[in-house]
């Protein structure tokens, strides 16, 4: 099925997350997704839909095309237990940079945040981007919140209200985690770690809706 292109307003609010999906990375992914939603943007990633018949690289390319923003986490360039590093994330970063270099006017406006777990590691692993600013999250969700929030705040369109501060966002994220765990336990559902990406997105959105109602009282 041919998917229609996203409208201009949707692409302007969409952030493509190019990151590992392994279990140790999940706390960082959840923190990044929360920060994106709490900043008024829409997170997109390969977990959005699970169509086994879809060609993966095409799906990724469509996501990159439809998102004006992207977060690329290169923290899995280290070798795994078989001695092989993951090349997916650098490849998808390459697709993003290619779209920005050779794409149309809209594609050339793309913004990117490149993350890594350790400082200056990319200088060796991916020296082609060594001149670019890379943020380090140190494998800590709170640091990831800071990186994403600050990047979105610095690059937000002129005239838009400032984003909540790092402290407010981090404390809200902690509260979300606490309350969602209670909600899951009450409903006898699986733990937060087992929640599907779609359910996590809905939960964050619902929690923010309820929290916003409480903050406005």
């Amino acid at each position: 099925m041919v998917k229609p292109r996203a409208t201009k307003s949707v692409t302007a609010q969409s952030i493509f997350i190019n990151c590992p999906f392994d279990d140790p990375y999940k706390p960082i992914l959840r923190a990044i997704v929360f920060t994106i939603v709490a900043s008024g943007f829409r997170p997109r990633c390969a977990l959005d839909s699970t169509d086994s018949a879809e060609i993966r690289v095409k799906k990724i390319a469509d996501l990159i095309r439809d998102c004006d923003w992207a977060i690329h986490d290169l923290s899995r360039v280290e070798s795994n237990k078989d001695g092989i590093p993951r090349f997916n994330m650098p490849m998808e970063l390459g697709l993003h940079l290619g779209a920005r270099l050779f794409g149309g006017r809209r594609q050339r406006r793309k913004q990117a945040l490149i993350l890594d777990a350790r400082e200056h590691r990319y200088d060796v692993a991916l020296s082609d981007i060594s001149g670019q600013d890379i943020e380090v999250h140190d494998n800590r969700p709170e640091r990831a919140i800071r990186c994403v929030r600050n990047w979105l705040s610095e690059n937000r369109p002129p005239g838009t209200p400032p984003l909540p501060g790092v402290k407010a966002m981090t404390s809200d994220y902690r509260l979300f985690q606490k309350q969602i765990v209670v909600a899951l336990r009450k409903q006898r559902l699986d733990s937060l770690e087992e929640l599907s990406h779609s359910d996590l997105l809905w939960s964050i959105n619902d929690w923010i809706t309820e929290r916003a109602g409480q903050l406005s009282f």
Partner: protein, 75 residues
């Protein structure tokens, strides 16, 4: 006996002559709900359908917040 290539059926031409059948929706589902303002930021409602799990979590959160604020939450 030989068959000329031009007399063979051309399924690709037939399929091209008819419009491709849409086997699914081509546009995203409209967003349900209203935007909310959270710490000064406008949060758009999500689009698409929510699972039973997500519905259960929403109900639990609503109940929790209704108890904590002592007020009813909006639908």
């Amino acid at each position: 006996m030989y068959t000329l290539a031009c007399t063979l059926p051309k399924p690709h031409i037939r399929s091209m002559s008819t419009p491709a059948k849409k086997n699914g929706r081509t546009h995203p589902l409209p967003a349900t709900g209203h935007p909310v303002v959270y710490r000064g930021v406008k949060i758009a409602p999500m689009s698409g359908s929510r699972s039973d799990t997500a519905r259960a979590i929403r109900d639990a959160l609503r109940t929790e917040y209704r108890h904590s604020s002592g007020k009813t939450t909006r639908d």
